[in-house]
């Protein structure tokens, strides 16, 4: 999954990066359709960031290519509507915004993002939840992978019905395990002196 690289941009203050990203996305959104040249300006800003921060453009493009089918799909769906926005403008806007967020993710660690949220006075409960989610997301992903593999090793019947039952069983067990782990984490927090 995404792991910020060790580039100079990683050291820029996180608040500036987040604010910059939001600002750029806003600008791209507000760019009126009859002025396509503005998109060029915004794309140039992104390139500048890439160069100044020495962020690898290959990685960014690769992620963009991976995510773009969704955008393309949505844009084409909107293409049915002649009363709506031109699908090419849509795709361009979306693509540029996507690139912005990808670059943000490449240059900012999750911890930094949480720091920005903390500065923005986001409630502590939400920050704790975000932190714990990020911490255990990989643990649970590995667990679900193991359960899925164990299941398929024991499944000899093909067919969608069994696949659904197996998948649902994995999801159900994942929740059960997540709940149990949450209790143990609470114990571990208390063991080191945490008081709510």
């Amino acid at each position: 999954m995404t792991k910020p690289a060790k580039n100079p941009a990683a050291r820029w203050p996180a608040a500036v990066k987040v604010a910059g990203a939001i600002g750029l996305v806003l600008a791209i959104t507000l760019t009126p359709a009859p002025r396509p040249a503005w998109f060029g300006v915004e794309a140039a800003v992104l390139c500048l960031v890439l160069i100044a921060g020495r962020v690898s453009p290959v990685v960014v493009l690769r992620r963009l290519a991976w995510l773009s089918p969704f955008v393309a799909g949505a844009a084409l769906a909107a293409a049915w509507s002649p009363h709506g926005t031109d699908w090419r403008i849509l795709a361009l806007r979306s693509g540029l915004c996507l690139a912005t967020v990808i670059i943000l993710a490449r240059t900012t660690t999750f911890g930094d993002l949480l720091g920005v949220l903390r500065q923005a006075r986001v409630p502590a409960l939400l920050i704790t939840t975000l932190a714990l989610m990020h911490r255990y997301l990989f643990v649970l992903r590995d667990e679900s992978g193991r359960m899925g593999r164990a299941r398929s090793a024991r499944t000899f019947t093909r067919g969608r019905r069994f696949a659904w039952l197996a998948a649902a069983s994995v999801v159900g067990q994942l929740f059960v395990r997540a709940s149990a782990r949450a209790e143990r984490i609470y114990d571990a927090m208390c063991a080191r002196g945490w008081t709510s």
Binding site: F110, G111, L114, A131, L132, H134, R135, Y136, F138, V139, R181, R184, I185, D187, A188, M189, C190, A191, R192, G193, W194, T195
Partner: protein
């Protein structure tokens, strides 16, 4: 020597009525390293959680008493008890709940209300002690099992506890991780109670052991005597470890050399 842990007639039941611990009594002197042996379900983890004050807080069904360094473990004393007893959980992922190793090790000192400079100092020292200074900024899921275990230990050591209670510390470790942990634990002067299935680990680290089964203390004595009693071992779901069965001269030397090296 003062009594670090004093347990008298400890009994404990789960809400559905099943008895987890019954009539447990033992005492551990400061600085001792004691093994806690027993088959699965014997109550080892439950007992350890009592030492840290976690269990009674949740489920108040407890008889008997526990004294940690002379203080009775009760609702009023919970904070003090937790300061003095460090608990190492079975699954290091449960214990490493912060975003980076450094944050996690600093968690304990922060909860103790220490000054930021002091927190930083303790964190640095704890990381040095376990040899993880170079991994301080790493997120926990990028660590190996051995590194995670050491990070947990650092987190506990940062609170400078007098007593360490470890729950299956060698599970999931490869031989190198195991050796590193053993060497680390030898260097820590705190009172240690180690619950484990790793009988060879116990032989090398703990001169004395307690045998638990069905929530009761079956035996309490010198580790070698306990483990050499084959009938006793087999009766309680254990076995005589190989290290005692096949005593090669050089292995024997290694064991004793390391033990007296302190």
């Amino acid at each position: 020597m003062s009594t670090a842990i004093d347990v008298r007639q400890l009994g404990f039941r789960y809400p559905d009525g099943t008895a987890a611990l019954a009539d447990i009594s033992f005492g551990i002197e400061a600085g001792e390293c004691v093994g806690l042996l027993g088959p699965n379900g014997s109550g080892k983890s439950t007992l350890l959680r009592h030492l840290n004050g976690i269990l009674p807080e949740r489920l108040p069904a407890r008889d008997g008493s526990i004294r940690i360094e002379g203080k009775l473990v009760s609702d009023e004393n919970v904070a003090t008890v937790r300061r003095r007893t460090g608990l190492l959980f079975q699954d290091p992922d449960d214990q490493l709940f912060c975003g980076t190793v450094q944050e996690d090790v600093a968690f304990g000192p922060r909860q103790l209300g220490l000054e930021p400079a002091e927190c930083e100092r303790r964190t640095r020292e704890a990381l040095e002690q376990v040899g993880l200074t170079h991994l301080a900024q790493r997120p926990p899921h990028h660590l190996s099992a051995g590194e995670k275990r050491r990070a947990c230990l650092a987190g506990v050591l940062a609170c400078t506890p007098g007593i360490l209670a470890l729950d299956e510390p060698t599970s999931g470790l490869d031989p190198r991780g195991r050796r590193e942990l053993m060497a680390l634990l030898r260097g820590i002067p705190a009172t240690k109670l180690i619950a484990t299935h790793d009988l060879e680990f116990v032989v090398e680290l703990c001169p004395r052991s307690l045998l638990l089964d069905g929530g009761r203390v079956i035996a309490d004595g010198a580790t070698e005597n306990l483990l050499n009693d084959e009938a006793l071992m087999l009766a309680h779901g254990l076995e005589r470890p190989h290290i005692l069965q096949h005593r090669h001269p050089h292995v024997g030397d290694l064991v004793f050399d390391a033990a007296t090296h302190k």
